[in-house]
């Protein structure tokens, strides 16, 4: 059967019986009709060559056993504003008041009633812009059907991080959340996202960073082994703005994290980084990044590290597109995997597309085993083999963790990684 037909059938099957939630009607209808035109992704799509989207597109979410996590909650020691969703449903009791200095926070479900102009305008807009040159239909599906999310407007330096906490309590939960962040000129905010969220999670984040503003994003995708997730982060950067996003992923049957950034103002900086650790042939992790330089003197960095063992699969698709006139662009991209055995696999597709002549762009991708000489050196100093392996594994991940500006957040992530390695050694 032709792919187009397969896709339209799958799309129809997926949407059967679904109706658009109330509010944001114009944007939702627009997304819905765009989705019908492009259809849901199929593994024969070039962009899904390394990751089969079937379990993300099929009508019902595959079951995911609940995972009892006996660790303290992520970022427990950090003073943060907590917003809790359980299987995508807002939990008012577990959440803090949605109030903090320098920021207004509204639930997406309340946006229509609250008549927040900018949010109505932003919703689905960056997602729609991000559809060219490559289609991202699962994000469009989200724009049409997302049930809730958070709308954040940072007007100054927000004193503490805002933490979206995603708990998973139902083995069949199928959740779509869509959040918006607007960072005003000169303002600064940190967004944390933690937890497994659902059996199947589809999340979209649209971020508008104004002139001289800074947006920090640190995410930890929870340890549930059977969960599936597809996430998209779309960002638009004005001049002299800063965007920093880091994601740590533990376990999970399937994770696809897409990050799409447009650098529209001069002197903007965008750093996207990630680390993932996977053990077992039911681990599949995909980082897909697309950074467009469309202004002068932009700096972008992509730093992705994966630790894979026992048949785990890691994917990286990263692109730097430098448009005509985006002179003095400084683009850097590195994707590396540490394969702890012969069964694991790393598939990488790094791409540069450059239409300006005065730029410095570099990219590299490597796949390797633990350095036996370093291991022996450590052991010869009395460090047991497992400790030495863990030390070298953390060292391998270090470059990506260095992308996190806040040391307290980075330290917590390092401690979790040490825990993971102790359990999976």
């Amino acid at each position: 059967m032709a792919v187009a037909k397969l896709k339209s059938d799958a799309t129809e099957a997926r949407l059967a019986g679904m109706s658009l939630p109330a509010g944001l009607d114009v944007a939702r209808k627009d997304a819905s009709s765009r989705l019908m035109t492009m259809g849901l992704p199929h593994k024969r799509d070039e962009y899904w060559k390394y990751t089969d989207p079937a379990s993300l597109t099929q009508a019902d979410a595959p079951q995911a056993a609940l995972f009892h996590n006996d660790e303290a909650p992520m970022f427990d020691a950090v003073d943060r504003l907590k917003i809790v969703f359980v299987d995508g449903v807002f939990d008012a009791d577990a959440s803090d008041d949605l109030e903090a200095e320098g920021v207004t926070i509204t639930r997406l479900a309340d946006v229509a009633g609250a008549d927040i102009h900018w949010a109505t305008e932003l919703y689905g807009t960056l997602e729609a812009r991000g559809q060219t040159p490559v289609a991202r239909p699962l994000a469009t599906l989200n724009s049409a059907f997302a049930s809730d999310g958070v709308v954040i407007h940072a007007m100054g330096k927000v004193a503490k991080p805002i933490n979206l906490i995603y708990l998973h309590g139902d083995t069949g939960s199928d959740v779509m959340l869509h959040s918006l962040v607007k960072v005003d000129a000169g303002a600064e905010v940190t967004l944390l996202e933690t937890g497994p969220a659902a059996a199947r999670f589809n999340s979209v984040l649209e971020v508008d960073v104004a002139s001289g503003a800074a947006f920090h994003h640190v995410r930890s995708q929870g340890r549930d082994h059977e969960r599936r997730a597809v996430t998209h982060c779309f960002a638009k950067l004005a001049d002299q703005s800063l965007f920093k996003s880091f994601t740590l992923t533990f376990n999970g049957k399937l994770t696809r994290n897409e990050c799409i950034i447009e650098m529209l103002g001069d002197d903007a900086v965008a750093h996207v980084a990630g680390a993932c650790v996977g053990d077992g042939d039911d681990f599949h992790h995909d980082d897909t990044v697309f950074i467009t330089h469309d202004a002068l003197n932009g700096e972008s960095r992509q730093v992705f590290k994966k630790v894979l063992r026992n048949g785990a699969v890691g994917v990286f698709q990263g692109k730097i597109l430098v448009k005509e006139g985006a002179q003095k662009t400084d683009g850097y991209q590195i994707s590396q995997s540490l394969l702890l055995d012969d069964d694991s696999q790393f598939l990488a597709k790094p791409e540069l597309e450059i239409y300006a002549d005065d730029v410095a762009c570099s990219h590299g991708s490597t796949s390797g085993a633990i350095d036996e000489d370093a291991l022996f050196y450590l052991q010869s100093r009395g460090v047991p083999r497992q400790t030495a392996t863990n030390l070298l594994t953390l060292a391998f991940l270090a470059e990506s963790l260095e992308e996190i500006a806040d040391e307290a957040l980075a330290d917590d992530l390092r401690a979790r990684l040490e825990g993971w390695m102790a359990r999976h050694g």
């Binding site: 350095d371 036996e372 000489d373 370093a374 022996f376 050196y377 450590l378 052991q379 010869s380 100093r381 009395g382 460090v383 047991p384 083999r385 400790t387 030495a388 030390l391 070298l392 953390l394 060292a395 391998f396 270090a398 470059e399």
Partner: protein
Amino acid sequence: MLEIIGLMADLQDEDKTILKGVNLNIGAGEVHAIMGPNGSGKSTLSYILSGKDGYEVTGGSATLDGVDLLDMEPDERAAAGLFLAFQYPVEIPGVGNMTFLRTAVNAQRKARGEEELSAGDFLKIVRAKAKTLHIDADMLKRPVNVGFSGGEKKRNEILQMAMLEPKMCILDETDSGLDVDAMKLVAEGVNALRSEGRSFLVITHYQRLLDHIKPDVVHIMADGRIIKTGGPELALEVENNGYADLLSEVA
């Protein structure tokens, strides 16, 4: 202290014998030197004693204070008191020198059932020892050996030795790559560690190191065997005449 009897070893991946029956007996508190032509098996001997992969021991034994070394993991050998200063120290990006030293010291203490050093105590000791070796704070902070000059790497080896206080120290060409002043520093570092209960095996090509670290016994190794053993005068003979005479004596 260290007793090696008839040690024979092959390369694991190739059909090649490197050690062809090495005999060596180093008593407590003694300093022995091994000299010998390139490729004679000196580094291989030090690797096999410390447990590097890639070699197969086909005969003989090596014991440290009566304990079989060859049966242990490399880290267990270290905890038992063996130390090798590498001919080519390894660079480890991403692991800070300080973290490395503290992990090593505490791992050995733990293996011996001793209490771990507190961060404060550790820092004090490291700083004092680094100072005598002219290792500055910056080198302690940097990743292990990354971007260190040849001489800095060798000094870093001696710092590790000073921190770990092993009882059997093997120094593989620690003098190579050192300028005259650095060689003195390193030799002083080694001499400061000399004691009744600590022995040294110094692998070198040159007499000049042995001017500073005075050996009790000198061995000549050739083609996987110790072919001659003597006093310090043997090193002078090599310095003046090379190996030709010694090799033909045996042949």
